[in-house]
Point group: C4
Chain length 348, copies 4
């Protein structure tokens, strides 16, 4: 799995939190990439091939992406290229099973029934015997945490996944899952998949602080470019046919609500100020934004999307920028953003 590109930097591998699993610092997500949004399986295959050749070993999916079609395409690619299973880290997420069914009742959430049935469905679509990582795609406040913790351990004990984790759970929910797992001598959640970028820092940098220390939580973050905003492509206004204008599925509620309002305008102004920083470093804003999240050692992997092979090449090049983000640069960026979270309170 050596990088095939002429000038691509060597891939970095990081431990997933305190676990013994190594994931590529940059990973490929099937969020809007595969299935509906792209439509063309061939492009998805090419992107996965380019990612694999660049040393990316972690491919992220979910039952709810593109009505299950992301999993199908990912599974086909793995077969097509004959990659060895042990060289890959494959994830999927359970929560929005109704996306591919016709019935919301018991086909979503984190009940024992849906976790077990959902994982079976995902494995069939992926044509795999197991995934490496299985995520709870969201917190399910209707299901007791013990039911979910036990069901996730069932998935691990029956050999269908190696590690389980969460996505967009708050720190209290993660801590409660650990408390439950510890009380029952079960395996706790090893990783979280939160949103993280220059424009969304609080959860990763403040809220989760004690979880890293106490439970060794690892992060596989998504939206490092904040749906493209951080590439600077909206610096001079929003193109009519852009994904952001169409308020695509990937948008969080907060984003949709804020789109176009005062905060939105203020954000775009800040993003514009990052351009000179990128220029000074001899890079572009997208690369800067991606390198910036990778600079945080809590980030095990930054999940990127791609609808063209070139996007992957570009992402991987961010690895070269990380060492250049010295204290001076980081401080300059903090000052532009003005959103650096206070350190978590701890009595002396």
């Amino acid at each position: 799995m050596a990088a095939s590109g002429d000038k691509l930097p060597k891939m970095q591998y990081r431990f997933l939190g305190r676990s013994g699993l190594e994931v590529s610092a940059i990973s490929l997500g099937g969020w809007v990439t595969y299935g509906d949004a792209v439509g063309d399986e061939e492009i998805a295959f090419e992107c996965m091939k380019a990612a694999y050749d660049a040393g990316i070993n972690f491919f992220d999916c979910a039952e709810g992406y593109a009505e299950g079609k992301s999993e199908i395409v990912m599974g086909k690619a793995i077969r097509k290229y004959g990659w060895k299973r042990n060289d890959l880290v494959i994830s999927t997420k359970i929560y929005w099973g109704q996306a591919y069914g016709d019935n919301p009742v018991n086909n979503g959430g984190l009940s024992r029934k849906h976790i077990i049935e959902g994982v079976e469905g995902s494995l069939k679509r992926l044509q795999l015997d197991y995934v490496d990582l299985i995520y709870c795609h969201r917190p399910d406040r209707h299901t007791p945490i013990e039911e979910t913790v036990r069901a996730m351990n069932y998935i691990i004990n029956t050999g269908k996944a190696f590690y389980w984790g969460t996505s967009e759970w708050n720190s209290e929910e993660i801590a409660m899952a650990w408390a439950c797992a510890e009380r029952l001598n079960l395996i706790g959640p090893v990783m979280e998949q939160p949103e993280y970028s220059m424009l969304a820092r609080d959860r990763v940098e403040r809220e989760y602080a004690l979880l890293y220390e106490n439970y060794g939580l690892g992060l596989t973050i998504f939206s490092p470019l904040k749906q493209g905003i951080l590439t600077g492509k909206y610096n001079d206004g929003i193109p009519e046919d852009s994904r952001i204008a169409k308020a695509a599925d990937g948008f969080t509620t907060t984003q949709r609500e804020s789109y176009g309002n005062e905060q939105w305008k203020k954000t775009l102004a800040q993003v514009k100020q990052l351009k000179p920083v990128a220029d000074k470093l001899g890079t572009d804003q997208a690369t800067l934004a991606l390198a910036w999240v990778l600079k945080n050692p809590r980030v095990s992997s930054a999940i990127t999307g791609a609808s063209k092979v070139e996007q992957i090449t570009k992402s991987v090049k961010a690895l070269d920028l990380i060492p250049k983000l010295n204290d001076e640069v980081m401080t300059e960026i903090d000052e532009i953003l003005g959103n650096k979270p206070a350190a978590p309170y701890r009595r002396l």
Copy 2:
């Protein structure tokens, strides 16, 4: 799974106690419906189809119903209509395996042997890999609770059921099962299947009170019409060919003992008094009785029987009546029945 009837109310789904599983508030039971009592598989198929189309997702069965034939018919219906397994909540119950064997020794009760062999038999008859719910059909005072709790967990751990529960256990027995499960870090019983109706309130409304609070116990109640008594069809005397006159299998010991005596006459007189209440609400007594049990939020699902498609339609319409059962109506009913249990004792 949309309602196909022209005027049927939208099905309600309720969580099964504190679990993450959703069951339709009205469910279909195979107690006297399938197998011997009906005889004609076709009618059973039609009833299940009508139920499914009305949004009913929970189908209740038992190894002891109609010598195992209820399970066979239910299994055939699922195959016949090609319903998705994940859209269904299927239950069965273990205790009366001798019903379909020739030998009572070790083919009944809640020993590890019968639980494991019984579940295997049920799954074969149902043509399923797993049921959602597995019940202990009665308490077995000859088997230590630890043996039963461990065997039920074995069933769950081997993927043959998602949740286990009890039927007609008293509160002490359920609490002892929980104490045992908690001591051994095992899964406790999530649901009970008691009798519950206007004429049988004590257990659900008083005896189990602390179990809801402490263990999140959910209820799937049976006999909401008290074997038809609450429909008012005996208001003017008992038809000679009615099931009640023949003291059908479904009768509890208490019912058989009381049939025709003073208490019986008093009960019929009370039931007669409910007619004006139903009239006032623009409904009939059967619908009133069913809506009344569903008004109790502890009831996750009311199991109904059907030997004609029309009975299902009628049952589902009770959903529309629930919001009309306001405090005034409920008080009036309590006064007629005179059997409202005192609140469970709790020192301040």
Copy 3:
């Protein structure tokens, strides 16, 4: 499974200690009956058929009986007669696997390796997916109790047996197995298979006393006729071709050592005195001896051997004698034997 004989008493079923499993009070063992000692499979088949028809549901075997041939014959009989698996209680025992192998190393004892490999071998010979009961045929003082307790739980958790127990373990060894099981939240040994007869009382009547109370230990006793001595057939001297003269395999070390010495002569004299007791009850000494062990409620089942169908019929008839063994008769027998154990010491 009704008794087919014209005058046979109805079989009694007893719970196996505090478990929920019911075993016939009289059971059939494959000790010297099947395999080598009989030689003729047909006789073994006939005996098993007669036992089954008499209501015997418990058939006892061991990997070490007749070099594994007992299990093979028992397995063939079950297939031949098409008996339902759930109607049978089948046991086997692990310890002397070297009996059927050519290598004593790791093919005997109670290591994890031999327990798992031994059970696999037994199930293959029996042509069964599981046995009901799996015994540790002897204590293995070279293997830590935790290893054995864990391996037995592995056998149960993988569905290869329902209950585990011991044979000829002393009370301390059984208590240590329970202590280990309780510490690890595992399943403890439910039953013991000791020798028990009028001539061997101490272990069952004194040594195990606290185990019944504390752990609900059940007993499936062997040698109720003390290798035929208690039938009275040696009252007038030992026939040259008798099994006892040949010091058959079944003999315990103690028996072999004592054969012919002073104690032996004293024992035969006592046995002779039991004849008038049998006469008075209108029975023979063998029936008396068998009924006497069954009178003890701690005995869940008395394992008998048979090399002729008539022996089974005779054994089952002992059930009719049990109610006739009143206090007066029991006291008379105790006085003849002079070996009634003192009650276990317990401070007030």
Copy 4:
């Protein structure tokens, strides 16, 4: 499995630490023997056959030996000779899976992913359903001990190994694994595979002292001849084509560093002094060195290599020497070596 050689001593079997498993005191390892180093499968087959015929039941392997080819050859030999699985103790080790893959990421170490995938790979190469022993080939300081302990228990619980252990872990690491196993009620590591010889004593004789007592640790030691140094073949200088001159793979870092330096020369001088001791006992230095490690009762098995059948015969003959190593001889050897560790500190 009787010794076929004319004058070979009877094989000794020793319990593997406090477990119930018996391993031959002398065992055959696939370290440099099979796969690349030998090249010729036929020689490997003959060596295994000779070992088996000499009563050796324990064959040691690792995923990392000869890029997985050792396992392949060992598996072929077992099939070729039709040995019974239960007569063999087969081990393998997980850690250096990258040896047979093209990708170091997640194909080495002791993560849950690699342990499970690694064992699957080993079993396929060995053509076996399970190994008896599974070792962690080295400590993995990047993976939390709990992840490794849980994964090893998963391997045992899924029937893929009977016992797990470590190789070249320090005492603290082993103690931490036991602490973790005891906290979680899981199975701890039963055996260690350290280097042990007259020239490498400290770990076995001092460092592990409390582990034997507290956890019943058993040892399967390797390099009893210190890569041939203790045979005395370098007494008069190092042959140019010898393995030691080529600094073969088996060499530890320490050996490579010390090769040829002052300490090295001092060691060779000591080894030379052992010759008269061997002469006095009527044996050679290799036999003396092997018997010397077997004299230590903590050694369950000494793993030897062989590239000729004669080497096995020679090794087995060391068993005859053990009783001749009396206190006088042992003291003489200690004085020559000057490396006897002080007893582990223990306050009175």
